[in-house]
Every structure is written in C-alpha cells, then in structure tokens.
Amino acid sequence: MKLENIRPAINSSVLLLYRVFAIVSLYAVLAGVLVFGLGSAFYAGSKTWVAPVILSQSDKDTLDLIGKTLTTQDTVDDLKLDIGKLENTVTEARSHKANLEKILPAIETAIDQENQHKGQTGPVLADLDKQKTADVTSTESALAQSADVDANIDKELAAGLITKGDATQAKLSFVKSSGDLTDSKIATTLLKDTIWAKTLSSTTYLDTLHKQAELKSEIACLGIVLDTAQKQIVTEKNQVVKLDQALKTAKQTPLWAATQGARTNVALVPYENQAVANQGAPVYDCYLSFVACRQVGVIKATFVGEQHTTHPIFKTDLRGFLVQLELTDPDSAKSKTLFVGSKPLLF
C-alpha cells in the first residue's frame, strides 16, 4: 500500500485529533483566563476571606518562637539573679554607709572640741612661756653672778670661817640652783612644743583631717553605688516585667500551642477584612474557591499582633492578624482561603 493512498486517511485522523485537542485546549485556556479574572476581581473586592495556616512543631516560625522564648526566659532568669545581687549590695552598702555616717560627726565634734581647747589654752601657754623665759633669763643672770661662790666657800672653809658641813650645804644649794635652771630651760622648750602644737597644724591634726576626708569620700562613693544599684534594680525590674509580659503574650499565641506539639489551625485575617473576624463567627469552606460553600467551624479566639504572609491569590505581602479556628473538618485548613461570617456568594 502506497503512502499517498493512505495519506488522506492519516490526514483526516490527525486533523480530527488536532481539532479535538485544539477545542479542548482553547476552552481550557478561556476558562482559565475567565476563572483567573473572576477570581482576581472577587478577591480584590471580598471582605470576608481569610487565609488558613496550619501551625506545627516543625514549622520554621514555631522553631523560631521556641528559640526566642528560651532566650527570653534565660534573660529573665539572669536579670532576676542580678537584681538579687544588686539588692544585697544595696543592703550592705546602706549599712556600711550608715555606720560611716555615724563616725563622721564624732570625728568632727572631736576636732571642734580640740580646736576650741587649743584656742583657749594656746594663748595662755604662750604668755606663760614668755614669763618662764624671763624667769630662766633671771635665774641665769643670778647664777652667773654667783660663779665664784664655790671658790669663796672653799676659801672660807680653808680659813675655817665655815664648817665643812656648811660648805657642803652651800655647794649643794648652788648645784641645785643650776639644775633647776636646766629644768626650767627644758620646761620652756617643752612648753614651746606644746604651744606649737596648740597653735599650728600638726601632722596628727592633718592625719585626722585626712581620715575625715576619706570617710566623707567613702560615704559619697557608697551613695553613688547605692544610687546606681537602685536605678539598675528599677531598670532590670522593668525589663523583667516587659519580658514576662512578652512571654505571657507569646504563650497566648497559636504558635506557642504549636510548640507544645498540638496541630493548630489558624487563619490570617487581612486588616481590610477584620470587621468580620469576631470570636464565635462561623467559618466557611468552598469546594470551588468561592463557590459551593459549607460551614466548617467557628473562630475560637483572636490574637493581637501583626502577622505577615503571602497573599494566596496575588502572591503579594499580606498584613493582618491571626485567629484560631475550631474546625469540624480539619481538611479545610488546607484550603487556599476560607470565609468568615457568611458564605461569599450566598451559596
């Protein structure tokens, strides 16, 4: 059989197949375009759709939350420990400061009293010193005039004018007078030291002042330490409160429930559709995107806090908040969109 003879039959068959394929394909394309166009228009105008999300323990977001929660809890624990240490430090510093503050007035009183005493005795002693110095001078002059007394005693003893006892007595008296003079000089010198100590700043006095200054400085430092520690305690306590609140909030989210191992059905409600997302509102799932719908559950809870996801139709960034769904048909959580409040097209 020649090819040319069967070519018409082959052509007819191929043409028939081609036409069937073409008609089906063209209608499929047309239907696709129409569905896409209608769907886009519907979702651009609809105010009741939400985007379901299934949360599980192995989700990236869930794992992130676990990590962040643990880190936050560690931070809270560290802060609490630090606050305890700081509070102990404050107690100890406060006690030490109080003790030092008790010593400081005593020192100041002692210094005042001493200065007052010095002010009284110093001038008196200075006058006495002058008198004493004059006395010493007079005594020296008197002793100088009696420098030949010893020789005269010896002469008088030799001449027998006086007895040996009288001579001895006379010599002892002279020596005693010399010793008294020396004692007076010593006393004068000591008196000068005393006057110097009472009228000028001595090293002892300066030491006392130094100690007083050190004490004041230590008290001031303790004040700073106390102030800083107290402020830090306040700051850290605030931090703890905030972190505790954050943890509390995190633990109220559906993601936290997912971290505990439960499959959690939630849906992201776009802000423009938030009016319908109330607790207890019925949730509908549709067989054909937004046609032929049935109720599949209710909204169990709403959560604060902004969430982002990809728009299920337009693939753009979608902002909104999460609601927890209580579904009678768990498979509805796998739908691209769900509707809240009422059926989108009333059927």
Binding site: N11, L15, Y18, S25, L26, V33, K315
Partner: protein
C-alpha cells in the same frame, strides 16, 4: 522548570536587545553593510498585483498612488483582483480600470479563493519580469517601484521589500501603539536581517519578486496545507522563506516606503495580529520540517531568525502561562512598567526624529503596548497554535452587506 523558563526568557531578552542594538549600530555606523548596491537605470517590466477583499474606496486610492509612481508608464501595470468582496470594492476596481485605461486590469475571482490563489491567478495574467505584490489599503511614495527594482541589479537578489508606515498614527491609542510596533517590526528589525540579506519575512504590503522565482515557488503555494486543509494566508512569509531555501537573497529597502491604515478597532486589530502570529507559527513548523535544507543554504543569521527567535517566543508564551502561578500581578511590576515606558520613550524620540509625519501626540500610550504585548504573546500564540486548520482574510473579513436589488 521555572529556572529553565527564566533562562530561556533571559536568553530571549538578551537576544532581542542585542538584535535591536545591532540593528541600530548597523543603521548608523555601517549603512553600506546594511544595504545593497542599487542600479536606478534598471527598468524591467513590472506587474503590480493587488489582491482585494472588502477594501471599499481605499483600493482606488492605492491604485491611484501606485500609478503615480515615477516609473516608465509603459513598463508597469496594475492587476487588481477582487476576491468576491462583500462590499463595493469591485465597483471601485472597475472605476479604476475605467479611469486609468490600459494601466489597470480589473479582475474578479469566480468565487472567494483567498489571497494566495488570488495572487497566483493575477500573476498568470501578467508577463512582466518583476512582480510586485501590494496591499489594497496602502498608498505609496513616488519612487517606491524604482527603489524596489533598483535592488535587482544583484542577480542573486530574489525578493525586495519596503517599509510600511501608519497613515493614521493619532486616531487612538491603538494606532499610536502600532506606529511604534510597525517601526520596530518593519523597519528597525529588518536592518538586522538586511545585513546578511536574509530577511525572513518580506511583508506582503510591498513585496517585489522575480517572476521566475515566483513561478518556482507557485506550486508549493498551491499545495500548501495543514494535514489536508488548504492554507491561504501568510503567503508573504512563505514565499520569502522558500526564496531563501532556493538560495536567493532577500532584502528590505527602507527607502521604498508605503503607508497603511492601522486598525483602529480592537476586533480588527485582534484579527490582524492573529493572522500575523499564525503566519509566524506556521513558518516555525516549516522551518523545523526543512531544517536540514536550511543549513548551508540560508545564512546563519536567517537560520537564527527562523528557528531560535520563534522558539524563544513559544517558551515566553509558556512563561506567561505559568507566571501567574508565581506572581499574578507580574505585569504590574514596576520593572515591567518602567521597561515599557523606557522603550516607549526611546521609540518616540526615534520615530519623531526620522518620521515626523508619524509623530505620536501622546507617547505615554506606549505603556499600553506592554499590556498588549503580554496578551498578544499569551493568547494569540496559543490561538494560532490551535487553529492552524483554519485560515481566511483575517482583518478584512466582514459580514456580507446587502445592496439594493442584490441577493445575499
């Protein structure tokens, strides 16, 4: 899959940009390389074949302007054939034959036969050495015929075409967009193919061919079919393609100019674009069917234009199909819009400078081209691929008009 498509689209974009850039470089930097040696003393006999279907009075204007061309009167004639129009086109042809006796032959097909067979029928009436095919709604510059014929000084030159401009650039946004599209498709892009004298499609609005070459290709035209269904449109691309396969050069002389009325209504525009796209899709099948015949015969540039460019276009169509799955609003993406606007701005500057008669009043309408381009690539390519078993006069098809005393 997505990576593959993105790679092909990237390649397509790169090749297209390279092609346009190369065209501009050739046009400005090496005009001689992008042109042929012309001999204006050549004056062979020329037959202007004017197939007509539902053109109305426009056909008379076409005949009048082509007859006003600066070419020896005794060396060219117009053979106008009406393919059983449903309007008054036949009357206008008869009027032209009466007004220009001896210079216009008015014919009428016994039944509607399509453009290809109408042309072949008209060619049998003529005996000129050069056949010029024109569209029945075009008007022509005075030197059009001479510009075309002068290029046949090169014996290897098989087909010479011209460029077509828009007569109604500012009618509405649709015609404004087409002004740019025509400039890109029928002028600038041809420079790239002119460089190697391997233009893959010389437009049927103005196509000059050696008679013996036309006769060589004629049997192929007559037997063109899609699994037994006769194909009657896209003959310009088909003729050009076979001329290349027979080893002839093809060329578009940008100095040979004519102007046409661009469709100003969407259905008409849709049909025109659909016809063009289907012609390209058919040609792609022909190319791959005869791929081995191209190698060694057609210049590699011609092979590239016939094989790679349409293939990447098909891949692009596939990309348009799957793009909504990843980003349904991709056509509104700022980059898409900015690229459209940038291309529009450049085209506006070029067209305004070189073709002041086609200056666009509102160049921002070019942004619209971006959307049309997506729809065009998306739906028309698919439609063309799936309707290859059907062909007609496209944009010229209209409902039969009942005239007084005429039976429909």
């Amino acid at each position: 899959m997505l990576t593959f498509i993105l790679c092909v689209l990237g390649l397509r974009l790169f090749l297209s940009l390279a092609k346009y850039a190369w065209s501009i470089v050739m046009r400005i930097g090496h005009p001689r390389l992008a042109s042929v040696q012309q001999d204006f003393s050549l004056e062979p006999t020329v037959s202007i074949l004017l197939p007509c279907f539902n053109e109305g009075p426009d056909v008379y204007n076409s005949i009048r302007t082509i007859l006003e061309c600066d070419y020896p009167v005794d060396k060219f004639q117009v053979i106008a054939t009406d393919d059983r129009s449903r309007d008054d086109s036949w009357e206008w042809l008869q009027k032209a034959a009466a007004d220009f006796p001896g210079r216009v032959v008015a014919r009428r097909n016994p039944k509607n036969m399509g453009k290809s067979r109408t042309l072949i029928g008209a060619s049998h009436v003529s005996n000129s050495s050069i056949i010029v095919v024109i569209d029945s709604d075009c008007i022509f510059a005075k030197d059009t015929i001479r510009q075309l014929v002068s290029c046949f000084a090169d014996p290897k030159m098989g087909i010479v075409g011209g460029t077509v401009g828009i007569r109604n650039p500012n009618t509405n946004s649709l015609t404004q967009v087409q002004t740019y599209v025509y400039f890109l498709a029928f002028d600038l892009w041809k420079t790239y193919e002119n460089w190697t004298k391997s233009v893959t499609c010389v437009g049927g609005y103005l196509l000059a061919i050696r008679r013996h070459l036309f006769e060589q290709i004629e049997p192929k035209i007559l037997t063109r079919n899609w699994f037994g269904v006769e194909v009657v449109e896209g003959e310009d691309r088909y003729i050009t393609h076979h001329a290349l396969l027979l080893g002839y050069d093809t060329y578009v002389n940008t100095k040979a100019r004519c102007w046409t009325n661009a469709p100003d209504k969407y259905p008409q525009f849709f049909k025109q674009q659909y016809r063009w796209r289907k012609s390209g899709v058919r040609d792609l099948f022909l190319t791959y069917k005869l791929l081995w015949s191209h190698l060694g015969t057609v210049h590699p540039n011609g092979v590239y234009c016939s094989t790679i460019a349409p293939l990447t276009l098909l891949t692009f169509t596939l990309g348009i199909f799957i793009a909504p799955h990843f980003d349904p609003l991709f056509f509104l993406h700022p980059i898409t819009v900015i690229i459209s606007m940038a291309i529009g701005a450049v085209l506006h500057m070029v067209v305004s400078k070189h073709f002041p008669d086609q200056k666009i009043a509102n160049p921002l309408t070019f942004a619209f081209f971006g959307f049309w381009w997506i729809i065009n690539s998306f739906y028309l390519t698919v439609l063309s691929l799936l309707t290859l078993d059907f062909s007609d006069w496209g944009s010229r098809t209209k409902k039969r008009v009942k005239r007084p005393g005429q039976q429909l």
